[in-house]
């Protein structure tokens, strides 16, 4: 499985949650979340990490490691329920996925310098061979 397909495998469950909750999905390297909080959206990015012991993309897959980060941005002043429901959906989806070695978060916080209520969860991944 190539890197783009790995991203697809882990991104699609988050997109499902976005569709369920009416949250806009933004992949990595799309618009900056620096504007006004007129609506809610979710950023997701897959960061590949330590995987160069043997190979990058053409050999055994057991060395591909990554972190998948999901960030929720919502308007302030509407309570935490929306963010909590969204994160619960994402975490439940990731319980069913293969290769998830750790779950960190979710953390919820109101950003000081931006008009957003923010939540974040990260998943440590070791891409299993059977994903191919």
């Amino acid at each position: 499985m190539n890197l783009q397909n790995i991203r697809k495998y882990y991104e699609y469950p988050v997109i499902d949650c976005c569709n369920l909750g009416g949250v806009e999905f933004r992949a990595e390297n799309t618009l900056e979340p620096g504007g006004d909080a007129i609506h809610k959206f979710c950023l997701a990015r897959l960061q590949f990490g330590e995987m160069a012991e043997q190979t990058i993309a053409c050999g055994p897959l057991s060395n591909k490691r990554a972190v998948f980060i999901v960030e929720y941005y919502g308007p302030k002043g509407i309570g935490p329920a929306d963010a909590q429901d969204f994160m619960e959906c994402v975490i439940c989806k990731f319980h069913d996925l293969k290769g998830v070695t750790s779950i960190n978060g979710p953390d919820f916080t109101s950003l000081d310098d931006r008009p957003y209520f923010f939540s974040r969860v990260s998943f440590g991944l070791q891409i299993p061979q059977e994903l191919d």
Binding site: R45, F48, E50, V67, L111, G124, Q126
Partner: protein
């Protein structure tokens, strides 16, 4: 004949194992902090120099304010020079406390700066792809969750195991004493 538990004691060996355990933990804690300093952001250097190691399972609160003097004396957008190599990193602010005794060893590593969540990329606000960044995005979770931390522990264990005082099995002298050799 009913089975029974047998216990035996090798004089000196326990002490030797304790020495290894203590030395490995101390070395690993120091090296992990150096990794965090090397991989992490470096603007005024204040965040990097404040990594702290405490003995035991404890917490390190985000209590320290930014030192406005050290921050504002830098021209806007300019950073102090980040040390070039990992080995030149300053390490933990007050060193690594030495564990004593034979209990399990726990270290807590943390940074007391109030803005640490932003520096660790756990909250947005630090990384800007259009500017010069002294650390890659998500540098901290990448270190912790993608095998680099595990590798550091492995390397530290290996390094300590190769130290002469560990290799030499100092406990042997004690053992001989116990056995009257």
């Amino acid at each position: 004949m009913p089975g029974r538990n047998t216990s035996f004691k090798l004089p000196g060996l326990t002490k030797w194992v304790d020495n290894i355990k203590n030395a490995v933990s101390q070395e690993a804690a120091r090296e992990i902090v150096k990794d965090l300093q090397f991989l992490g952001p470096w603007y005024s250097g204040e965040f990097s120099k404040n990594w702290t190691v405490k003995l035991g399972k404890t917490s390190i609160g985000a209590t320290k304010e930014r030192n406005s003097k050290s921050w504002f004396k830098l021209p806007l957008g300019q950073t102090t020079t980040k040390p070039g190599g990992r080995d030149q990193m300053p390490g933990p602010i007050s060193g690594v406390p030495r564990p004593q005794g034979r209990k399990s060893i726990f270290y807590t590593i943390g940074n007391p700066m109030k803005y640490r969540n932003i520096a660790l990329d756990l909250e947005p606000g630090r990384f800007d792809p259009n500017k010069k960044n002294t650390a890659g995005q998500d540098w901290y979770v990448l270190y912790v969750e993608t095998g680099l931390l595990d590798k550091r522990l492995e390397v530290s264990t290996q390094r300590v195991a190769n130290q002469a005082k560990i290799k030499g099995f100092k406990g042997l002298k004690d053992t001989r004493g116990e056995l009257g050799l």
